[in-house]
């Protein structure tokens, strides 16, 4: 996917101005998860929390479905999404597996291979 930034690396997206505009509400919500009280409020009422932060339908959907690639495509920034992943109890290898379509074991094996 080619971006404003001119990057053309498969499976790799840069969070540039276009994405920043698209994802502002979603990222603002994820930024709020730095605060434990906000994490609890989200857990207690996901739909209401998304609504209060003004997420659009697509953003609400990918949040609801824990769709990692969808969250990125909807303008989510990896640094803020990491806080959402924390709520879900997912580590970076879970996320890697989900995005690559691998099993977690296969994903970890791929990382080990990179060291050889």
């Amino acid at each position: 996917m080619t971006q404003a930034s001119g990057l053309n690396v498969p499976g790799t997206y840069l969070f540039d101005g276009d994405m920043a505009m698209k994802g502002y509400a979603l990222n603002k919500m994820c930024f709020s998860f730095n605060d434990a009280a906000n994490r609890q409020a989200f857990a207690a009422d996901e739909a209401g929390y998304c609504w209060r932060y003004g997420l659009n339908d697509e953003q609400s959907r990918v949040v609801r479905e824990r769709d990692v690639l969808g969250l990125l495509a909807a303008g989510g920034n990896v640094y803020y999404l990491a806080k959402f992943a924390g709520i879900l109890g997912l580590d970076v290898q879970d996320l890697g597996a989900a995005q690559t379509g691998m099993s977690k074991e296969a994903f970890k094996q791929m990382l080990l291979e990179a060291g050889k």
């Binding site: 930034s5 001119g6 990057l7 690396v9 498969p10 499976g11 790799t12 997206y13 840069l14 969070f15 540039d16 101005g17 920043a20 502002y24 990222n27 603002k28 994820c30 930024f31 998860f33 730095n34 605060d35 434990a36 994490r39 990692v68 690639l69 990125l72 920034n77 990896v78 640094y79 803020y80 999404l81 990491a82 806080k83 924390g86 709520i87 580590d91 970076v92 290898q93 996320l95 890697g96 995005q99 690559t100 379509g101 994903f107 791929m110 990382l111 080990l112 990179a114 060291g115």
Partner: protein, 279 residues
Amino acid sequence: MAKIVGGITTSHVPAIGRAIAQNLQQDPYWKPFFDGFPPVQKWLDEVKPDVAIVIYNDHGLNFFLDKLPTFAVGAAAQYHNADEGWGIPTLPPFTGDAALSWQLINSLVADEFDITSCQEMLVDHAFSLPLKLLWPEHDSPPLRTIPVCINTVQYPLPSAARCYKLGEAIARAVTSWPEELKVVVIGSGGLSHQLDGERAGFINKAFDLQFMDSLTAAPKWATQYRNEELVEQTGTQGVELLMWLTTRAALPGEVVELHRNYHIPISNTAAGMMLFECR
């Protein structure tokens, strides 16, 4: 006059904090990573720097997209750690050196760096973990600290060439400060890794090693690359190597590599570490 005694570069990932908390340093998975640090700890114990300038990238703790600086410099008497979203216990505060912070800010702005100055600043794992790795016996590191934060969250990021110039300007600022101080520069980030997208898990050992070699043999080597090229070579978060480059550029005069470590993987990351001494 203040003297820059050396530089230390290291990777950071939140999982290191968990490994420390659970005492996994000798665990087979973690040992090759933690084994890199004792020689550096010994060097620090001998050199005893007074101040650490920590060059790192904020991961969405202190800065949000409403006010996102390219370069931010802390100017506080203390810096607090805080919950980054994972509920990990927060650390005791880090002592600042506001006088040297203002020297940095004054000198950098005079050198036409458009700094965002921060008299209050929350510091995240990218700031705190290197200090914990370097001074493992101390709850809070036994020296004063100054955070220097470089944007890697949102493009446009500053170019490698601009970061190199920032490092050189930091060196000018420190070495023109009249106080008798030993200053160590710490760069926290990288090496190759990618957390997001279908290419998640990307690691590039060959490039990382070439980059590490370049910091000793030809420090400006990486400035030839645009950030998009660095992402292609090192992954979306591998671009955090800008912290290493800035750190190396901040080391004036003759610089000797004393130690290095490189191990794949910790978490999703190629973990590197280097120690440079200014002669």
